[in-house]
């Protein structure tokens, strides 16, 4: 960081400018959607002729968009709950168990993360066709759960790294049955990992389109699926309004996640908070 500053100034300036440009490239498209969604005109172009909330009114009075919103939240919350419970229990089992091939097991349970989603979606569609789960919300939740459970498993396993096994022995010595030890001893210390996993599971489901494209019929359309259908038909500014609402949800999830992380950091290292992010 220190040293002969004068000689390196142009290089540093270039690097800083490049970085600012890259960050602007990342954020600009997301920001530009906001004024477009507030346009009073029919065309999605800048500058907008005037500002109005008509496209948001359109969104909130449309049966299709409202159904999609409801489906998205139902499926997202159900996915988050199931994935978090199963993933946390699984991580605990991996952590407590003493057997060979743990890395292999975790690797196998995480494969849905590395297989291209379109392959999983097509496979799930063929299999669901055999048991009648296509075109049901249950099917959508199951498929979203299998996509998001690896994140829960891995984040909870990562938090368990800092968990002291002796605490469990201490709890047992003091007469706590396993479930009490879990709720009173384990859960509080892995809570940040569980919360992050749950948020990620919800976000995965909430943003997911490809599985929905295969297994959902219009009655199960989620917000991304409804948006995709809209883009294919006719580019109405209502889509921009829906995009802004989805961005808003993502920002809330991101903020919650950062809050969880900040709290966890503050607890483990009161002196040097928020050091390792991402």
């Amino acid at each position: 960081m220190s040293g002969r500053r004068g000689a390196r100034q142009p290089a540093r300036f270039l690097l800083a400018a490049t970085t600012i440009a890259i960050l602007a490239f990342l954020v600009a498209p997301i920001v530009v959607v906001l004024p477009l969604s507030l346009s009073s005109g029919e065309l999605l172009t800048l500058p907008v002729p005037g500002y109005s909330l008509r496209w948001y009114r359109d969104f909130f009075t449309s049966d299709q968009w409202l159904l999609a919103t409801r489906n998205s939240f139902v499926v997202g919350i159900a996915t988050a709950v199931v994935a978090t419970v199963l993933g946390t229990l699984g991580a605990l089992g991996v952590f407590l168990g003493r057997f060979r091939g743990k890395a292999l097991l975790v690797g196998l349970l995480s494969t849905p993360m590395v297989v291209p989603v379109v392959v999983t979606a097509a496979a799930v569609y063929f299999a669901f066709a055999l048991v009648g789960l296509n075109n049901t919300l249950t099917g959508l939740v199951l498929a979203h759960t299998v996509l998001s459970v690896p994140y829960v498993l891995i984040t909870v396993l990562a938090t368990l790294q800092t968990f002291d096994r002796n605490l469990l022995k201490a709890a047992a010595t003091l007469g706590a049955p396993p479930h009490v030890a879990f709720v009173r001893v384990v859960l509080p210390s892995i809570a940040p990992g569980v919360a992050t996993g749950a948020l990620f599971a919800f976000a995965t489901s909430f943003d997911e389109l490809i599985v929905a494209l295969f297994v959902a019929s219009p009655a199960q359309f989620t917000l991304p699926r409804q948006m995709f259908a809209g883009l294919r038909e006719f580019l109405s500014p209502t889509i921009a309004a829906a995009a802004v609402l989805l961005i808003g949800c993502s920002l809330v999830l991101l903020a919650l996640n950062e809050w969880v992380r900040a709290r966890a950091n503050a607890r483990t290292r009161p002196a040097t908070a928020s050091e390792d992010r991402a």
């Binding site: 490239f25 172009t45 800048l46 097991l105 975790v106 392959v119 063929f126």
Partner: protein, 394 residues
């Protein structure tokens, strides 16, 4: 004690393992099976299949086969179940759909011997090649879908041959998929590197601001970000409006439904996946190394080339692998902002599943895409440094 722990661990892992098996492993197995399954002839024409089982494939089959096929086609037509069979055999040889439907309709007016009646109806029934094709497809499995996915086909005699030019589109499709993925990976790493390098050297407060700017798109759905580009790059969209207003161009530029749009939007979508691992690796590089190099008289460029760059290679590898694997399976972005010549394998998997109902082709393409991804992961694990689940002791 030990066995109780074992039992508890097994009980804790069982639910998630069951979920993954039931909604992931089994479906993948079903997909692999769908890629080679061949139920149509066996199920719709069981008696014909049986009659052909005893036929040696030389000359014409016995009268029993003719009688059976005529009756069973008419039956299937009446039960409205002839569709899948007609579609399946037409995929095998264009034109067979019409022949089957014609034969089914004609049955009521035909009289034995059916060998002569069918031959009179259509000369193809007097051609042993058609019967060999039927006999071959009475088998429970077929390699045809997988062969088609690599631009091969089966001749009526059952030999493997090159597919006709208008059907040989898949090798090019896989080639294009890897080409787009490689370019996107290269662009992402090249763009992410300087950003991550700068961010890792910023004071913590500013690093956090920059990181938030990376995390916002990271958490924003891929569809939303693609939608943003879909709107921005329109002919009447904001980018064209800006270029026109600035006088850079005189008429709107075609920026959407082409490769340019695919690259811009895919790089935008995948960039955070490259910046985050690069940042975390660069953050972990001890500045003492660079100071040591400086104290030994290395100029800045040399310090970068000999110290920072090699130490950051695990981050480059992780970022590249992550981006490439996500890119190979991309569907949303190319299908929305790309043109017909920019579509990737995923588009065809979705097309064969949802539009033309040909599950065999869609399953075969999915199988090949899966195999290609697995090969990449395996090669990357051995070839690239430091690509593994870091930091988790098991």
């Amino acid at each position: 004690m030990a066995s109780r722990t074992h039992l508890a661990a097994a009980a804790l892992i069982a639910p998630v393992a069951l979920l993954v098996v039931a909604t992931f492993v089994v479906p993948l197995a079903v997909a692999l099976h769908t890629a080679i399954a061949n139920p149509e002839v066996r199920e719709t024409l069981p008696a014909t299949s049986a009659a052909l089982a005893g036929w040696d494939g030389a000359g014409l089959p016995p009268e029993a086969a003719y009688a059976a096929v005529s009756r069973e086609l008419a039956d299937a037509q009446e039960r409205q179940q002839i569709g899948p069979l007609a579609r399946r055999l037409n995929f095998e040889q264009t034109g067979l759909r019409a022949l089957l439907l014609k034969t089914a309709r004609a049955h009521a007016g035909l009289a034995p011997p059916y060998r002569d009646a069918l031959a009179a109806l259509d000369p193809r029934w007097a051609d042993p090649a058609l019967w060999r094709l039927l006999k071959r497809n009475a088998s429970a499995t077929t390699p045809l879908y997988l062969l088609r996915s690599v631009d091969l086909t089966l001749t009526p005699a059952g030999d493997v041959a090159r597919a006709p030019a208008d059907e040989a589109i898949f090798l090019r499709l896989f080639g294009r998929t890897f080409e787009i993925s490689l370019w996107v990976t290269l662009l992402c790493v090249l763009i992410a590197y300087p950003a991550a390098y700068t961010m890792a050297r910023l004071p913590q407060r500013w690093a956090n601001v920059a990181l938030t700017l990376v995390l916002v798109p990271f958490w924003t759905s891929i569809l939303v970000r693609t939608t943003a580009w879909f709107i921005l790059l329109q002919r009447e969209g904001p980018v064209n409006a800006l270029l026109l207003a600035l006088g850079v161009v005189e008429a709107p530029v075609a920026m959407i439904f082409n490769r340019f749009a695919v690259y811009v939007a895919m790089v935008h979508v995948l960039l955070p996946f490259a910046i985050l691992p690069l940042y975390s690796v660069m953050k972990g590089i001890d500045p003492a190394y660079a100071r040591a190099a400086a104290s030994l008289g290395a100029p800045p460029w040399r310090r970068f080339l000999r110290v920072t760059l090699p130490l950051s290679m695990p981050g480059v590898a992780a970022a590249a692998l992550m981006v490439f694997m996500l890119a190979v399976g991309f569907y949303i972005t190319p299908s929305l902002v790309g043109g017909p010549d920019d579509q990737m394998v995923s588009t065809f998997i979705a097309f064969y599943t949802n539009n033309t109902i040909n599950w065999g082709m869609s399953a075969a393409l999915a199988t090949l895409l899966l195999a290609a991804t697995a090969a990449i992961v395996v090669v990357a694990r051995y070839a690239l440094p430091g690509v593994s689940a870091k930091g988790i002791r098991l």
